[in-house]
Symmetry: C2
Subunit: 252 residues, 2 copies
């Protein structure tokens, strides 16, 4: 079997509000889940402040290292929204007003005081970029090559992803199954490692928890191959049961 | 006035479970807030998978670029817990069992089946490292130079930070004040930029929201200098009120 290409993506979160602790990020988990449905693995996340040279450096590192780069944040109308300028600087292209985005904004603000200079900032794109249709609210994202620029507000970012669903190339999604046990993970560590080694092409992650005064763990088996996943799942369950552990399929 | 040193930190989150979307990270916001109380700015976050060379590369980049590096995740007893090995590899030192950590584990497991090989993994540290006391549950973190290795489970990571509070050098915390307005941020964008420019040493971030069918925004003013912060706050409130906007101190 020829080696299967694994499609990868990085996510660059741009925002002082995440680094200050003021805002709890909600985009990482949502974008990770969406990417997996497209057959793309989220392979790295970086969070950087609203500082031009920091964004430029991260964009250039990540767009080279992964198949795709997604960014969130910094595309509003205010002075701290510098993502478009930073991506354009990273690409070495100018910033221009996109006619399609301008037309959308003109329609939107027709009955809301008109298109001011500040609002027109939201139609700016790196020269040569395309818009990402937003099928729900209309506010578009921006695509340039392998870079996808999304809003920071989670429900708007999610709408922009909706416009991209099924439109960018990926491979097979990473599938997962979960087994839960009321057991300290240290008591089954060797068993987990042996099961993973017995099933090449699978990974087993162990996620301990403490709940209702008891310790337990969920064991997550991951593979892009359904047959390997099923074999590893059955084997791990059998090993745990042979060791006298009660196993809950689907996790605890 | 001599230029004030700004102490910086990076956070490296190690974990497939964050990148797969399975787990919502809770450590970034908590560590950011704690660091600010120590007078240290969280300046970058990276999330990487449980892959040795990816952790090593990130550790070496981040420990050089910032005053401190914190890591979360990957310090349990199972095969997917490779943070200690990766940090040791990045530092070019061996991994050894720390006698203090071993003694703690022996006490803890005395009545719980004894110290197995898997459990002893949790006493391993990069050679020359110190333990970070955990005043609450006893499970220690690890310090080596400017690197601090914390658990991934949020309440345990928080306990380890408790043991570090007031013990690592920082500068002045970044202070912040918030003003809220029921206004589309695009209508006050010029005003925000002018207020920020009029007060060097301050930053104003604009965070729009949509709630109960209305749009609004919170404007967060940040500065390490209380006098500058207060002056910018008063000026921004005055500018917003002069523009006919009702201002809510503390935000909406």
């Amino acid at each position: 079997m020829a080696e299967e290409k694994i499609w990868t993506a990085a996510l660059l979160v741009i925002g002082d509000e995440i680094l200050s602790g003021r805002t709890q990020d909600r985009n990482v988990a949502a974008i990770a889940t969406w990417l997996n449905l497209q057959g793309i693995r989220l392979s790295e996340v970086r969070v950087v402040p609203d500082v031009m040279e920091r964004i430029v450096a991260a964009v250039n590192a990540l767009r080279a290292d992964y198949d795709y780069l997604f960014t969130t944040g910094g595309i509003g109308p205010t002075h701290d929204d510098i993502t478009v300028d930073a991506v354009a600087a990273a690409l070495g292209v100018a910033v221009t007003v996109h006619p399609g985005a301008r037309a959308m904004l003109e329609r939107h603000y027709e009955t809301r005081g008109g298109l001011t200079d500040a609002r027109l900032r939201m139609a700016r794109v790196p020269e040569g970029a395309d818009l990402i249709d937003n099928p729900i609210s209309g506010a578009p994202g921006i695509r340039f090559g392998n870079i996808f620029i999304l809003a920071g507000v989670p429900h708007i970012a999610a709408q922009m992803l909706e416009g991209l669903s099924g439109r960018i190339e990926g491979g097979r999604p990473l599938l997962s199954e979960t087994l839960g046990c009321w057991v300290p993970e240290s008591e089954v560590a060797e068993l987990l490692e042996a099961a993973e080694k017995a099933h090449p092409g699978t990974q087993i992650g162990s996620y301990p928890f403490f709940r209702d005064g008891r310790v337990g763990a969920n064991f997550v088996i991951r593979s892009p191959d359904p047959a390997r996943l099923a074999a590893c799942l059955a084997d791990l369950a059998a090993r745990l049961e042979a060791a006298g552990r009660e196993v809950r399929h689907g996790g605890i």
